[in-house]
């Protein structure tokens, strides 16, 4: 009975989405057991759009109220994002629920997923239209978030034609990438400090957009910068910082305050 109610809410919300937002119609032609969310995710990525997923577990007044906020907001962002409502109890949606770890989260929760497949923001329980708009991030941020969520490290090379010591920095990064211990689990991302769209990301990384020298930032999951190198950098320097993180306050922390 309860499951039926949840499924009916999913259908109602799903219908609501397609009415209010120019959402893809992923269910058309799909088998009954196929995940609507997976199909919607693929469709949104193809159109280079975000997908906002409204996860819920029960139909109550709060869920309904948040659904209204969600629908209204999504209608205004239809050109940039698709939307879908998913019941976390729907067995067909288990892959997407598991992938983004929605089970056990405060409900309802809206998860914004970038075209890269990275979850860029979540809005649990209480949210408004303005907050939902904050889920959009710059292309480089979305790319880095995807790498981090895939449990890989990132070496963000902040440089352009105007910065100095580009080659010296790139050489060290390439050598590190070739290291069999870390190379497989590391992605290199190039970031132009002059790119207007990335100014906020540069601020987050604490890199001056006016920098005249190449900067290399090493970031590890879940997104914490481990080291920032200005100018030339060697493989040994990067490795040393990783070892420091391994034995220091990182995962090996053994202090018992």
């Amino acid at each position: 009975m309860r499951l039926a109610m949840k499924l009916s809410l999913a259908v109602v919300l799903g219908l609501g989405m397609t009415m209010n937002v120019k959402a893809a119609s992923p269910t058309e032609g799909a088998s009954p057991n196929a995940s609507r969310a997976v199909a919607a995710l693929e469709a949104a990525a193809k159109q280079n759009k975000y997908l906002f997923v409204f996860f819920f577990d029960k139909q109550d007044a709060h869920t309904n109220a948040m659904q209204e906020v969600f629908q209204t907001a999504m209608a205004k962002m239809a050109d940039r994002a698709d939307a879908i409502a998913i019941s976390v109890a729907d067995p067909a949606e288990k892959p997407i629920v598991d992938k983004f770890g929605a089970r056990g989260a405060p409900m309802p929760v809206v998860l914004a997923i970038a075209p890269t497949g990275a979850a860029t923001h979540a809005f649990p329980k209480q949210f408004d239209e303005v907050q939902l708009q904050q889920a959009f991030v710059s292309p480089c941020t979305a790319k880095c978030m995807k790498v981090i969520q895939d449990q890989h490290m990132i070496l963000i090379c902040v440089q352009n034609s105007k910065t100095q010591l580009n080659q010296e920095a790139t050489q060290g990064v390439k050598a590190f990438k070739a290291d069999s211990r870390y190379g497989q689990a590391t992605e290199v991302v190039m970031l132009d400090p002059a790119d207007k769209a990335e100014q906020h990301f540069l601020t987050d990384l604490q890199v001056d957009p006016q920098t005249t020298t190449a900067v290399t930032v090493l970031v590890t999951p879940p997104g914490a910068p481990v080291a920032r190198f200005t100018g030339a950098v060697t493989e040994e320097q990067i490795t040393a910082k990783i070892k420091e993180a391994e034995s220091g306050c990182g995962s090996n922390c053994s202090c018992h305050h």
Binding site: G101, L111, A119, A122, A135, V137, P221, V226, C249, C253
Partner: protein
């Protein structure tokens, strides 16, 4: 008549008084040995757990007790699983790893074990991104998680309390469970009606984790029908951030829960040990007064009632030193027997009660045997000295006049 014969006859002259005096010493020593023995191993267990515990902060239900940190997740109270998301999204610097646990007792082949649900690292780390791109603005070096990246070694659970991935049908088994059930990697195991594959046998840790079976948190929630709840959330926090008030920030994020550092929990455990230690000291004082008074009374009564025999013995040529020796040797034997008996009984009690009272294995300690005998013999000798001296100073003529 030889001295040994005289002493033995003297010992069994007043059996009821001898028995009560002996009992006072025996029970006193027994209690001291039991408490000291259990306390010693309990302190050892705390130290070992401190070493093996990867986490340094714990989130528990408000009503949870702090006396037993390594069994903290075995309490019946629960907290919502959504606290994990709230923590992950709080974007707090220094929150390196989060490990929620839900435990339930299970029986396998007639033996009791604990089924513990855990959330693999890849699942809670994904939630860190839920707070948005602000995750990249953390201070350099804090909250980094490099050590296990890409590692598929499930045995990291025993040391670091976290594993990278864990599927719905996979379990990790503790060393004792594996030994008792003869399980090895890739074996299958049925738990609460669901079949699992043993993905790894964890190395022995000497902790309660050896008797645990670890499965995915959501699988345990489904099997136990407990819903989206956990018993405890273990957190590995960055040391410098804990010093800088991370616990206070965690309390602000989760006001409905109890956030404690392991140091606080260990302190609570140490307080219990200290209390036990003080209790044994109190018993020592009681035994000194009660046992000593009992023995002294017994000896004085003995000397008073047998002064004619003592007088006769002295009239037959026994000197004061022989009389003194008789009574002191009697005290020595009484004390020795009380010490040895108390040590044996106390060690047996500790061995039997240790696992039940403190959840730890207790073995006899030879150091306590020496201490028991020294205390017991010392006490009986001191308590018997004055009665023995008054016996040795008896005037044979005076005793005969009383006849």
């Amino acid at each position: 008549m030889r001295l040994r014969t005289i002493v033995l006859r003297e010992i069994f002259e007043r059996k009821s008084q001898l028995f009560t005096s002996f009992l006072a010493i025996l029970l006193g020593i027994t209690v001291i040995v039991s408490i000291k023995n259990i306390t010693h191993y309990s302190e050892g267990a705390v130290a070992q757990e401190m070493d093996s515990l990867g986490a340094n902060v714990m989130v528990l239900p408000k009503t949870a007790t702090l006396q037993d940190y390594y069994n903290a997740d075995l309490q019946s109270e629960t907290i919502p699983e959504e606290y994990v998301t709230q923590l992950a999204m709080a974007n707090l610097a220094g929150l390196d790893n989060i490990s929620p646990k839900l435990s339930a007792p299970i029986q396998l082949q007639g033996k009791n074990y604990t089924l513990t649900g855990i959330l693999p690292k890849n699942e809670f780390q994904a939630k860190a991104a839920w707070s948005g791109a602000g995750v990249f603005s953390r201070p350099i070096g804090c909250g980094a998680s490099v050590g296990m990246m890409g590692s598929d070694d499930k045995k990291t659970l025993s040391r670091k309390k976290i594993i990278e991935t864990l599927k719905d049908n996979e379990v990790l088994v503790g060393a004792n469970v594996a030994a008792n059930l003869k399980l090895k990697d890739a074996d299958t195991l049925e738990l609460l009606g669901k079949k699992f594959t043993v993905t790894a046998v964890l190395p022995e840790t000497g902790t309660v984790d050896d008797a645990r079976i670890f499965a995915h948190l959501h699988t345990v929630q489904d099997l136990t029908q407990k819903g989206p709840v956990v018993n405890a959330i273990e957190i590995i926090g960055c040391c410098q951030e804990i010093s800088a008030g991370l616990v206070g920030k965690l309390n602000a994020v989760l006001p409905e829960a109890k956030v404690v550092t392991v140091a606080q929990i260990v302190k609570s455990q140490q307080n219990v040990n200290r209390m036990m230690s003080n209790l044994s000291l109190m018993f020592l004082v009681i035994i000194v007064f009660v046992g000593g008074a009992s023995i002294a009374n017994y000896m004085y009564a003995n000397v008073f009632e047998r002064r004619r025999e003592i007088g006769t013995l002295m009239a037959l040529g026994a000197d004061s030193r022989l009389v003194l020796k008789v009574f002191l040797l009697k005290a020595l034997l009484l004390g020795g027997a009380g010490g040895v008996g108390g040590y044996v009984l106390g060690s047996i009690f500790a061995f039997v009660l240790g696992p039940q009272l403190a959840g730890i294995r207790v073995w006899p300690m030879w150091e306590l045997a020496i201490a028991s005998i020294v205390i017991s013999v010392g006490l009986t000798l001191v308590a018997s000295f004055f009665p023995a001296r008054s016996a040795a100073r008896l005037d044979p003529c005076a005793t005969f006049q009383e006849v």
